[in-house]
Symmetry: D2
Subunit: 131 residues, 4 copies
């Protein structure tokens, strides 16, 4: 818990569910723009290191309970057979799940590529009151 | 408006206020991590160009009505008297306001350095139903 | 000019041409990773604002004489007809030219998408001694 | 090795030492701007995960032989006692060493905070011909 001084900056009529939605949006927006453009290859050890590194980073942000990044291995091209055969992370290959708690609200949200939308959609999968 | 297919990915029990909170969180998280680390100097023309450029970029994201970036000029050091006298954007110098509409909900949120927290706080300043 | 203290950190056997090559590589690496993932639309005013903003930022770095970013308008999709119709900058759409001077050496380097390599190549176009 | 087609884009008068200087500059510029702004805490497991993740990413880039990131643990504040007690990577805490080979040239370069310059200097530590 923080000491709560930050809450005074929020509009008085924001409830805990709304705050949880705001906070998890921040984390997905940050996570996505941190991942975008990262060099990567199809080597599973490389992919896993990148996943773990950015998970560790995002896990430091306020109210985060867990972060799981699942880079879409089928979309990563380049096995470093030549110097130029590697890839960069972008919307099509990024997938992640964040779980966050704000007061009694637990919320789970994801970013993943939605083929029918041709878009890396960020969406709230679940929200519940723990009490 | 989008065609609404994206809404099917959200938990059924998310209302428009909650969705607006989520969407504006995404924009602030993205905006902040895009700005962090950008080279900058105290030249007002440089500062304004950077502000306008990132405002234009974030304004492309879904549901955004307006973006205003106000880099804290008092915190930017370096007037390029020598090659190394310039600065990089970080939490202490970043301030921005985003206004977003989701269906009938209009929401305003900010990021700014809060001295008492020693933290670049993101917070919801106002949320209202337009109807 | 800087006061020159930084030069003491370099290996004694680096000449001015080599140093110019190093310095311009830094700028292209930074520029590319700053641009990657930026939201963008096909609106020419949006594109130009982003170009000017990042040009202004990179121009603050040591020894830079000029920066020209030329986002490949033919590769940017999304005119914001719906909320989700916009794009993100990536290697295929990024092109830029940096001119830098280190002591008497002037160097020009570029990043641009090379179709035969399927790669956003960074390369030195010209290097010359001004004297 | 790549197939060498990329070399045709370079000015004819760039020798292998100059090319190695250019290539390693690109890697340091990218690495630095990828690290800047990453959330981090003083937890050594978090720090090490971030180091390994970005090392893995940069190691995919052309001609890189090794990358070692050494985040300055003394400069990272925030042990997550409260939700807001964490830090963000910036020039003062970033240190890294890259080793790269281009043809017969092996080059080592670093980025680290230089207190007398108050600047995160990138410099070439060593360059040698392997033959």
């Amino acid at each position: 818990m923080s000491n709560g001084k930050e809450n005074a900056y929020f509009s008085y009529d924001i409830n805990d569910r709304e705050r949880a939605c705001f906070e998890i949006g921040i984390k997905l927006g940050a996570l996505y723009h941190i991942l975008c453009g990262l060099p990567i290859s199809s080597n599973p050890i490389i992919i896993e290191s990148i996943e773990k590194g950015i998970e560790a980073s995002i896990s430091c942000q306020p109210y985060v309970k867990s972060v799981k990044i699942n880079i879409n291995r089928d979309k990563i091209q380049g096995n470093k057979t030549t110097e130029f055969e590697y890839d960069e992370l972008s919307g099509i290959s990024i997938a992640a799940t964040v779980v966050l708690e704000f007061n009694s609200v637990e919320i789970t949200a994801k970013v993943e590529w939605i083929e029918e939308l041709k878009y890396p959609l960020m969406f709230i999968e679940k929200i519940r009151n723990k009490n």
